[in-house]
């Protein structure tokens, strides 16, 4: 035990438990609500049941929305990888000075709230050469920008850790072309970092609501929009939905953390 722990361990433990309780309360409330038969105007529910989960998981509209969300998120992540990997390779190998420019550019998706971009996106993609407003394609494009700052930073750190230049020089010496070296040597070395950043990006793309609701809405109902549209339905049903959603995201972040731990 360190001296600090001896000083007032009870106080600090209490604070930590209180913090945990504050963070837990909304989740716990939703969980209990999703499992109760009815719960209104009382402190405790009247009985427990699984029927809301059964109703949810047998609802075709829910399953369709879930599938659409998966499709859009993985589509966006595939696009992001396809665009960001060559970019990172070129920036790190050929034009290291571009990294400074990129670090400013990737601030944009972070600093510009989606609601602002939406105003422009709605006008630009409503008609004209690319009328994709109201289709999943516009979401895939937007989600790429959301994932960009995060993936760029994560993969850059990974690239710096593997000594890209030495690795490429070694591959070149052994007679590999730049393409071959990039695909056969660099890419496999990045695999774990890529997986971690994909899982983590997925967990926040899956919860994205602003673009999904403003740009597409019910025309291609994703999970978050479905959840919002169900707001007038039974609160127990929506609670089961919230808990199911959260459990799924949890599984993704848990997988990412597992992968991350293996690395070190």
């Amino acid at each position: 035990m360190s001296p600090a722990e001896k000083r007032s361990p009870l106080f600090h433990q209490l604070v930590v438990y209180l913090l945990f309780l504050i963070l837990l309360l909304p989740l716990l409330g939703t969980l209990v609500y999703s499992l109760s038969t009815s719960w209104s105007a009382t402190i405790l529910p009247s009985g427990f049941t699984f029927k809301w989960y059964l109703a949810l998981w047998s609802d075709a509209r829910f399953l369709a929305a879930f599938g659409r969300s998966l499709l859009v998120c993985f589509g966006a992540l595939a696009l992001a990888l396809l665009l960001i990997l060559p970019l990172l390779f070129v920036v790190n190998y050929h034009f290291p000075r571009l990294d400074g420019v990129m670090n400013v550019l990737i601030l944009l998706p972070f600093a510009i709230p989606p609601v602002v971009s939406s105003v422009g996106l709605m006008q630009l993609f409503a008609s004209g050469p690319l009328p994709i407003l109201g289709t999943p394609w516009i979401l895939i494009g937007c989600y790429f920008t959301i994932a960009l700052p995060f993936m760029y930073r994560a993969i850059t750190n990974n690239l710096q850790a593997i000594n890209l230049r030495d690795l490429m020089d070694a591959a070149h010496l052994l007679g590999a072309s730049t393409w071959r070296a990039a695909f056969m040597v660099v890419l496999p070395n990045l695999r774990k970092g890529l997986m971690v950043s994909v899982f983590l990006s997925f967990s926040f793309l899956f919860g994205e609501f602003v673009f999904a609701n403003l740009l597409v809405g019910s025309r291609y109902e994703t999970l978050q929009v479905y959840l919002y549209n169900m707001r007038n339905d039974s609160g127990h049903f929506t609670s089961a939905l919230v808990i199911s959603y959260f459990m799924f995201v949890l599984l993704m972040t848990w997988a990412a953390n597992r992968l991350n731990k293996d690395k070190s």
Partner: protein
């Protein structure tokens, strides 16, 4: 080896798809908003901004945005400071567990969070009833400004802990012991050593929380179905509402929001540079 020009040319070519997508989905929409904010019925000019700053309705939206962002960031960071500090003093098992849980709840935002709060703190929420029966509160309206601040504070806490926890690394335990040996009280230690060392990290975290709250839309939209007058709601209502569409005014309000965010980002970058200076 082939000529370097051609290999660099190929390399540049690899950047084209990225540049196209980034332009289409990030730069172009922003440019549209920026230019159309200056587009009024009478031609180009600052008319939209004049209207935005003179209308009591839009001014209220801005004030609400700033108030909710400021108070939720302040409460969020205070809870995160106390929490992070205590987290460092407990056993590693408890710490790892609560840290992991806190990171997990950072995904709990937007629509699901609003629903959870309605269940807990709505008019018939379990916690509202409990607190009423205990006589702690007389009435609580989740759908008001106070309610929003409580809700926003909740989603600020995990982010605050995530950002602040590492910052306490800068505060070495032996400084505390030295200060104590020299006769400093706990208050004196924090006043003269602890807080000054942590200030850049605290301010940096605070501005990130501010930005996080200013741009938030999903939570307040789901909670009040767009009936609370706050900047992101106003902007969205003018491009997607069914009654009154005004993309140019929406652009002007969006630029006000962007202006606030830019200010925050610049301050953050500046603080970041200073904090490296201190960390060394």
């Amino acid at each position: 080896m082939k000529s370097t020009i051609s290999s660099k040319g190929w390399a540049l070519l690899c950047l084209v798809p990225f540049a196209l997508f980034f332009f289409a989905f990030q730069i172009a929409p922003l440019a549209w908003v920026a230019s159309n904010s200056l587009n009024t019925a009478e031609g180009w000019g600052l008319g939209n901004f004049q209207q935005a700053f003179s209308s009591p309705f839009y001014r209220q939206a801005m004030r609400h945005s700033l108030e909710v962002a400021f108070w939720s960031s302040l409460f969020g960071i205070v809870i995160a400071i106390i929490g992070s500090y205590s987290l460092r003093q407990v056993s590693s098992r408890l710490r790892d567990f609560v840290m992991a849980f806190s990171n997990m709840t950072s995904n709990f935002s937007g629509v699901p969070l609003a629903f959870a709060f309605i269940i807990l703190l709505g008019f018939n929420g379990a916690l509202t009833i409990l607190l009423k029966q205990m006589g702690v509160i007389e009435d609580f309206n989740l759908y008001s400004k106070t309610g929003l601040i409580v809700l926003y504070t909740y989603f600020q806490i995990p982010l605050g802990v995530l950002l602040l926890y590492p910052a306490f690394d800068a505060l070495r335990e032996d400084w505390r012991e030295s200060a104590e040996l020299l006769g400093a009280s706990t208050w004196q230690f924090w006043r003269h050593i602890g807080l000054p060392v942590l200030t850049p990290a605290l301010l940096g975290t605070f501005v990130i929380l501010l930005a996080n709250a200013l741009g938030a839309y999903a939570t307040v939209y789901a909670l009040t179905t767009g009936n609370f007058n706050i900047l992101p709601i106003r902007i969205a209502a003018m491009v997607s509402g069914d009654i009154f569409l005004d993309p140019n005014m929406a652009s002007a309000l969006a630029m006000v929001l962007v202006g606030l965010m830019t200010l925050i980002t610049i301050v953050h970058q500046w603080l970041l540079r200073r904090s490296y200076h201190v960390a060394r």
